[in-house]
Symmetry: D2
């Protein structure tokens, strides 16, 4: 077992880049929830490649097909299976990878683990393409959460050395919509333009570049999550490290807190005229002891640069046990982080819904018009 | 369910700071493994407080008592239960916490979650004291791994703004022993002295300070772990975020990779004269696609500053819904990160052993003299 | 989460009787295993309806389509997804079920659980049709086990009051093949003829009849399974009660042992000239303390009669809260137990493979020609 | 992992018969629940041996000690750990078992599984003594359920060939109390007297005898449990087969349904004047499709005879690979089924509470005076 996560809501992802189809099963969704397919397609479109010179040329329509779990446009309580056919595959591009592993890809580790039996064309099951079904089921979760006043938003926080403006402490969901509508998902478009220049420069250098995504979840009730190993941070962490290329994760102030004193890092409590308890700052990222405190849940995910680059690289021939140069042709994104923004939202939404369901708190959330 | 982790080897932690006892059950350990109690006590001693002015004055002997799972000094295949009695508790110190939550502690979130029914004296089940049983069962795992040539080592990477020398790319287990024998677990003792000054300065300011721990695991076979959500990174992440005060985690180059280009971040493969495939650098931290590549597994954990500080802080009275000043007396560490070093090792050892057992790879490891 | 089982090999079933498709994902299969599709179709054919007057008239081709996990006819280490399209649905037959629940069906319990939001046309996700994907992935497991000398066989042990000859203590896999090749899966064809008469008599009376299935697994190594709650009996039980209409399960002598004395029920050990330890009898069904002893694993599963019968039945109108008569038209099997025989084999094979993988014992099994 | 069960409420059992202590951790209990220790001791007393000539002479006080999870007599939201010290052990009795396995015990299977490293004195972790901590945490669950109007009752349904009167379709909790207060837990005391004669006759013949336990849970809401593999039947089955010596389990009519026609086996629905929907009969045992229907949950558990008998038995010497006679001295119950009655109740209560918590239905249950 490997490609699933969640306790009460369990998501299983299947498929290989160059197989028949990719997809996901989400078991444990609440019943009677409307799925707006147009909104879902819009959401999925955000991670799609092929739009411009920043992304790979591969163009798959990526239309999700609901095999089960949906009746007359509403969840029916049973496992939701979404399938996406693979239509545009040119596996010839990857032929010599079988023996010469791409540096910092899973080629070599998968080779060892499965004794050469894994199907790694196009990255196989490790391909970034597998994030499409994650977005499909995550998009359903986002709609269910939105109806309860819970909003999940993310933006490209940095590309290489260039940083966007961080989210404000109490972001308005309207800001999330605004970012989602942009071609390049940043808050500050000037920073965005600089990031795009950084990506294009990397591309011209036959190189790639990494980046980070900041994500915030608003509208969460306090008291969600369990202590120690089943906290909302633990569950987010387990799922988020499943997104390809993620190498770092921090909640709230994160690593910056490690360099601070307690008097600055602590979030003082305060109560407003309605008796609502909040904190003056949110260095904790909305979580203390693994449990939400009612402030926005906030975390940042670090992605390494796309390991597929067009430059000649040093590798080895596994069969011949000799050093070997590798030149990858195929189609590659010089940066995948802008496309990972909705993927982070999707995973965050699925984990959030799972924690709400595990805690038995989902039913008590009122619904709001969306 | 909350206070347990692991799949094949399942660790369950129990106890509250001021209850009768704390402890842990480890179910799924291999049978016939010698447990050297002297070595175990030495290991546990490393996380113990009360040693000097850097740590809290609370002195608990913290002698583990084996209730089950051990026969004639060897694991017997059945669940290992280790209990540590609580002997030195002064709960009066924490009396007013019931109503006025300590900033950035779990007091408030636990209050909301359990409607005021949680026993939070001394931090309750959230107390750093609960890391003692983690070290007890983790210490057993460390001995089992050492016998298979797998070494787990960690050091204090930073305190506040001061940084230690990082681990070399291929650290020798002898280095781990050297660090473990030090009063202050750093590689570079000059950096260590500066860190201690930073801790004492915080203490004098009635304040606290955060830090980071770097951990490396050597001797792991390649091919360990599963793709997507069950990789060794995912499983480490789930468990490591269960250590109190952890707010960040990065593998290999981590967040620094996000600022790099692929040509620099990628780890070129190379093969030596014996046909052994390694990588020239280890920015991946020994993991690609969630699966080990045979290089040392390397990660860094960020701890926020101890939230308990002696300064007056702003908080609220939960019952009266008014703002309230809070002055915490009790006993507090100005920095807990030096004590967290063996805790990180313990958790890393438990997760490593679990992944080895899940993969059915444990049996194939030869034993070495230790 | 509901429709999945297994620890290391995790099977997730999806689909509703009258939805787009039904299917299953099997995550954790060993890589490099050949899947013979002709053999698989033969196996699946055994549970198919529409063959004769004993079964429902519904004829679905039930051809499995591999969406993932298979490359060039071999498992590739990644999740195997099998989909079966629903082509022959006449949901009008079930229209009035929405309000008047069929006695001893899940209509009412599903109505309550999902507040009327479940899609129960044709039984929805509770339909016996969902056993088709179970057979598809179970058929793959059977092929993998057969290659290791592990055979799973079952027969119709009883229908109503009529009983077949039980399996011998040490059945030959050839016997399993012989039964599998029969139109009516019994050992003793005379008993089989009597059973068929009992089924037809029930049908003529607009009624249905229950039965039992006996299953045996040969070739298992001793020492498989874990104590207490993770024994092979526990894991079998969890999965087998997931087959629709199962209401009883007994291992070895089962309930009959409860009426015996220990001196008769105990299985004496004996050792043969090759030093192989076996037991003289197998009242334990091959399991002691949840762990296999090397004798055939043997169990019996009890199925209640098909709850859909053509007779008028007493029910209620949920909406009007009044008693209401119900006459079910549609297509129904007067007995489903003969069709459940391969389903029991499929589930038994999946659990067996999962236990082998969890115990890290799979790799040590040699392969045999099949 | 082996000795734990449950999803939201996770119970882990530890200890060996002749180790330092036995115990259990229950993680996930609701907070604020009063634990009446006198009632708990009374409940635990019901499974205690040493009372009379029907049971073993071993007398352990079996007083549970709460190590954690309880503050001022109420659950505090954190893992509840209960420990019972082992005080009366005479392991010499079992010395020769190490090499000559007792027929139908786990001696041999444990030997193979752990290569002779398991501690099997007194049955080790497989001993019936491990049911004491199950009763301790199960007794806590029973108190929590009782407060919500959910009652769990069981009686000795049969010993050897002698049967008690079955529970009525709608048993009153008062009946459960009456049975619990009896020295011999039956409904019909005449049948009970006959059973006791059967047990004593077995004892005089240096033999043992098996039996069955019937259990009923009243007051459950309809709609509890999940389809397929996560139904309340599946979860009960997984846990109940963890009680030593259980070899059979049937829900409602169970195996008898397999011999019936549908027209007799189906439970017709009916609605009363208050609009409450029930069934006229309860052959389904309160469950359809894995989900409760609001009728009492009813099941029967079959226990094999105590495998330890004083007669000479045929076994083998594992080391010498020769046949060997075995005479077990030690202390043994000629029948353990009467002592298993509260164990079945304990496990049933824990599973029921777990399912209620998993479904998020616990909070909606009102409390009643008990």
């Amino acid at each position: 077992m490997a490609s699933s996560f969640g306790e009460t809501l369990r998501v299983s992802v299947f498929g290989e880049s160059h197989g028949t189809a990719i997809g996901a099963v989400a078991d444990g969704l609440p019943a009677g929830e409307t799925v707006d397919e147009a909104i879902l397609l819009d959401f999925m479109q955000r991670r799609q490649g092929g739009k411009n010179e920043l992304s790979t040329a591969r163009k798959e329509p990526d239309v999700p097909r609901f095999l089960s779990g949906l009746t007359d446009g509403r969840t029916n309580g049973f496992p939701l299976c979404i399938e996406i056919e693979n239509t545009n595959t040119r596996s010839g591009d990857y032929k010599n990878l079988a023996d010469i592993p791409r540096p910092s890809h899973a080629d070599y580790t998968a080779y060892v683990k499965w004794n050469g039996q894994a199907d790694l064309r196009g990255g196989g099951h490790f391909s970034g393409r597998l994030t499409a079904p994650l977005c499909a089921v995550g998009g359903v979760a986002l709609q269910i959460l939105a109806r309860r006043g819970i909003a999940v938003g993310a933006h490209l926080y940095s590309v290489g050395q260039t940083e966007d403006t961080p989210f404000p402490m109490l972001p308005d969901p309207g800001l999330f919509d605004k970012i989602a509508a942009k071609k390049f998902p940043v808050i500050n478009d000037e920073a965005g333009a600089a990031m795009q220049r950084e990506i294009l420069a990397a591309r011209e250098a036959l190189d790639s570049v990494g980046g980070t995504v900041e994500c915030v979840i608003t509208g969460l009730p306090a008291g969600l999550g369990d202590p120690m190993f089943d906290g909302i941070e633990n569950r987010m962490a387990r799922a988020l490290f499943g997104i390809p290329a993620v190498k770092g994760l921090e909640f709230g102030g994160g690593f910056a807190l490690s360099a601070m004193r307690g008097s600055r890092a602590n979030d003082p409590f305060t109560v407003d005229e309605n008796g609502v308890i909040t904190t003056e700052t949110n260095h904790s990222g909305g979580v203390q002891g693994g449990i939400t405190n009612g402030m926005p849940l906030r975390f940042r995910v670090g992605f390494k640069p796309t390991p597929s680059i067009a430059q000649m690289q040093r590798s080895v021939s596994i069969s011949e046990k000799i050093n070997a140069a590798l030149e990858i042709r195929g189609r590659h994104d010089p940066c995948i982080v802008q496309r990972a923004v909705p993927v982070v939202e999707a995973v965050a939404a699925l984990v959030t819904l799972d924690v709400l369901l595990s805690d038995g708190r989902f039913g008590e959330l009122g619904t709001v018009a969306v």
